[in-house]
């Protein structure tokens, strides 16, 4: 994705910010949410695994996967910008 500056009509630079807007990213989060919220378990379900109610473990597993997925997204899709891009406008003009 381009990181070049193209000021919008409002004067704000909106380019290079859509790092996480791909449709599939939000499909993955939606699936994890559907799995993580225990709406599909029978009301009186009493099964346990490792001492916890099974539905609780399933929900925690979905949360762990969501954390790993988010960490992976941050690692791979958020480029570390150059020092130049981090400089204030005033300092750039001087340099």
């Amino acid at each position: 994705m381009s990181a070049e500056s193209t000021p919008s009509s409002t004067g704000i630079d909106l380019s290079g910010k859509r790092l996480f807007l791909s449709w599939w990213i939000w499909v993955v989060y939606s699936i994890l949410m559907v799995v993580g919220i225990p709406w599909y378990w029978p009301a009186q379900y009493e099964g346990t695994l490792f001492g916890l109610p099974t539905w609780t473990l399933c929900s925690l597993a979905a949360s762990f996967v969501a954390s790993c997925f988010t960490a992976w997204l941050l690692m791979t899709r958020w480029p570390v910008e150059s020092v130049e891009n981090d400089l204030p406008v005033s300092e750039k003009n001087h340099s």
């Binding site: 989060y29 225990p38 379900y45 009493e46 346990t48 609780t56 949360s63 480029p79 204030p88 406008v89």
Partner: protein, 505 residues
């Protein structure tokens, strides 16, 4: 003796006093590190902070008295279903994906200090410049109030003083210490004390896990005990009903969109020294709900199995009750509880001091400088910001003491919910505005006003409550409809709408 009281001996009290003096010392060091009298230096620590400080200040700020007392109290009331909190604390970091990369880059370029600096830069709209800071100050004021109340309740559980006196001493003493170190060192003092508080908080949560295993036979025993209890307690180990599932979804949405806009967290996005520092801190943050919220849930559920019969705001004291049980069991238990209690104070104070600093920055820069005295110098503003903190905390401390005198005391989670109903109305301005060029200031402003009117207009509506969704989400829906519709309006109609008030004037 009241079972929610765990009076400390001289050893424990000495440890706590040393800890509080340590906070003051760090505040003094923060003051010595001051580079100049500018707003950026006082409110963001100059050129920003590195990875360790950013991570721990984000951690200590986001995990608060609500996590320790409120989450364990809620888990006591609803049981394992409160692992909702693990999901929604993760959702906050997911929410950052929608705006943090762009916001961080813009903040470095344009030297933003307050969250409203972005809104002003993006929309240049007078209405937004008035409403957004006031909204954020009210939401943060609510949060700060919850922390002050939790400070009072924490001290109630520590001494044998009459509960009302202990509460007042807790609020006044801890708020006073916070004010002193914040006045001395500004953001540096707050962030550096957050490092100490964050480390102790992590140790505290580890101790909690250890205590649950050793003192109460582990989570398996707790689960079985609840399965064998009366229907009212057995429901705490069963999956949530459809209403509970909808509430779960609602919490994920309102935290993902609202809590990621915590003004004090937005300021930490500004304060990151570089993109790499911010990115790496968020990567670490996304795993912390599994190590903090989940432990708070286990504490609450363990309490529900072993200490039945609490209700209402009493349930927020379950952590104190468990601590007292452990404290009396052995010398090791006593010292573990002393450290854990320091962690609780750390959680409360680190969140409260961040709120206080952010309220001060928004009042000074967004309201006073913009609307009252545009010619004020930076050193005048910094001076004013310091004394504003004293005023705000003084008023809120008085209110916290008043609320405690009421017969029906609000629970901590209820106070938390109110804040997000308001903050989530800013999501279109930050998140949509970061990506959609056509979104303009008038649309965001009227969307915001509509969202707030719907949220508060529906507050006592029974049908809304029966859906399980937060009022703020209904407000957000109305907010989005208005903001998007006005932005999509053909340009000629839009110009007419924007200029009508001027023509009328």
């Amino acid at each position: 003796m009241n079972e929610s009281v765990m009076p400390f001996g001289w050893g424990g009290i000495t440890f706590l006093v040393c800890y509080l003096i340590g906070l003051l010392f760090i505040g003094w060091l923060g003051g010595r590190a001051k580079k100049d009298n500018s707003l950026r230096d006082f409110y963001l620590g100059g050129k920003g902070v590195g990875m360790v400080v950013l991570l721990l200040t984000l951690y200590a700020t986001q995990y608060s008295g609500n996590t320790m007392f409120g989450f364990s109290g809620k888990a006591y009331r609803v049981g394992f279903s409160w692992i909702t909190s693990v999901h929604f604390m993760t959702a906050i970091i997911v929410g950052y994906l929608l705006f943090a990369p762009g916001l961080h880059r813009l903040s470095r370029k344009h030297q933003f200090i307050t969250p409203n600096d972005f809104l002003n830069h993006r929309y240049h709209h007078r209405g937004i410049n008035i409403v957004a800071p006031i909204l954020m100050i009210l939401a943060l004021g609510n949060y700060l109030l919850a922390q002050l109340m939790a400070m009072g309740r924490a001290l109630q559980g520590l001494t044998t003083m009459p509960p009302e006196t202990a509460y007042i001493v807790g609020v006044v003493l801890l708020a006073g210490i916070m004010l002193v170190y914040e006045t001395m060192g500004g953001f540096r003092a707050v962030a550096w004390t957050d490092v100490l508080q964050g480390v102790i908080l992590m140790i505290g949560f580890s101790i909690l896990i250890f205590l649950i295993w050793t003192q109460f036979g582990g989570i398996a025993e707790t689960t079985q005990k609840l399965f064998n209890s009366s229907d009212a307690d057995r429901v705490k180990v069963l999956p949530p009903d459809p209403l509970g599932s909808r509430r779960w979804l609602s919490y994920i949405l309102i935290f993902g969109l609202g809590a990621s806009l915590y003004p004090q967290a937005v300021q930490r996005i500004y304060a990151a020294r570089s993109t790499k520092v911010l990115r790496n801190s968020l990567i670490a943050m996304v795993f912390l709900p599994l190590m903090t919220s989940w432990i708070a849930v286990m504490v609450g559920v363990t309490g529900a199995a072993h200490f039945q019969g609490l209700d209402g705001s009493q349930t927020d004291r379950i952590l104190t009750i468990i601590c007292r049980e452990v404290q009396q069991s052995s010398t090791l238990g006593y010292w573990l509880v002393v450290i854990l209690f320091s962690a609780i104070l750390g959680a409360l104070m680190s969140t409260a001091d961040s709120c206080m600093l952010t309220i001060s920055s928004m009042t000074t820069k967004d309201l006073y400088l913009r609307f009252i005295n545009p010619k004020a110098t930076e050193s005048q503003l910094t001076f004013m910001g310091k004394w504003l903190s004293w005023l705000v905390v003084g008023i809120l401390a008085g209110f916290a003491i008043y609320l405690n005198s009421l017969s029906s005391k609000p629970t901590l989670v209820k106070l938390l919910d109110l804040k997000f109903d308001m903050l989530v109305q800013l999501a279109p301005g930050f998140m949509l505005g970061m990506h959609w060029k056509r979104l303009h200031g008038t649309a965001v402003f009227w969307g915001l006003i509509t969202g707030l009117c719907v949220t508060f207009g529906l507050y006592s509506n029974e049908w809304i409550q029966s859906t399980g969704f937060h009022h703020g989400l209904f407000g957000l829906l109305a907010n989005l409809i208005v903001a998007i519709s006005l932005s999509l309006m053909p340009l000629s109609n839009r110009e007419q709408l924007c200029h009508t008030p001027k023509k009328a004037a």
